[in-house]
Symmetry: C2
Subunit: 157 residues, 2 copies
């Protein structure tokens, strides 16, 4: 009944969600990935209220997803940049974006393109160690001395 389970050590997904914070926070990460660095630009590009933006940026800095630097040469001017941890959310953001395009229709959304070749980036998928694409049914969670997840007899989904 409590929210404690959200931080449960056994659930990495819950811990990830705690880390990133909320949807606004993931949108801030996505904005940072396309080069946005300044408070006013986050505010303008996302149409987010000033107090919410303040709070979410601070939380992302606290959790090591963004860093805050004073880059002003004449006076104080802060920039927010992705840390290595923040930059490492790349696959999450791209997978989410591609999922949305698949199911809501890509419409006229811009195409993510490989800079070197100019070709569209294929869907992000889960792969086995030898490169086979894996579906939900082809994996399970193995704990030391314990197995959970969908077992062979149960159809997942």
């Amino acid at each position: 009944m409590s929210r404690k389970r959200l931080a449960d050590d056994h659930c990495s997904v819950a811990r990830a969600l705690n880390d990133v914070g909320d949807w606004w926070s993931l949108l801030l990460v996505k904005e940072a990935m396309v080069g946005t660095r300044r408070f006013v630009d986050f505010q303008q590009n996302l149409g987010i209220a000033r107090n919410i933006l303040c709070d979410r940026l601070a939380r992302l800095v606290d959790n090591g997803v963004l860093s805050k630097r004073d880059v002003g040469e004449h006076g104080v001017r802060y920039e927010y940049r992705l840390t290595d941890k923040g930059r490492d959310l790349f696959a999450v953001v791209i997978a989410l974006r591609q999922w949305s395009d698949r199911w809501n229709g890509a419409g006229d959304t811009p195409t993510l393109v490989d800079r070197a070749q100019g070709r569209p980036v294929p869907p992000v998928t889960v792969h086995s160690a030898d490169g086979r694409a894996l579906s939900l049914r082809e994996v399970f969670y193995r704990a030391e001395g314990d197995t959970y997840g969908a077992d062979d007899d149960s159809e997942v989904g």
Copy 2:
């Protein structure tokens, strides 16, 4: 200043976030992926309040991520199952989980294993059409007659 931009047609990530709803919703999807189907089991496994669970399950059904079926042979008993759209969040959930394990420490969290080979599933990454792993700096967004995203001169992050 409004939340309208969250549903902006040009931002697939925002639309995805609207679709999934909030963190609780993504945790419900993750639970469904390991075989949870019944209201009481979602409630017990996630420690989520009944009213929040009701609301989030209904929203996921509305958005086509879960389906709700009466499977009771003698009386009404509902099950929630992932639709194709919900099942397709697999890469998102796994990528988020792996990110958390990398940055918060995997600790004693169970390992995601390839059922056929029993080997751990490698990190989900963004790849080019010819199979090269791509970083944030190696991609850009291309719109028809328009280009945005990090340009060559700006260091992203």
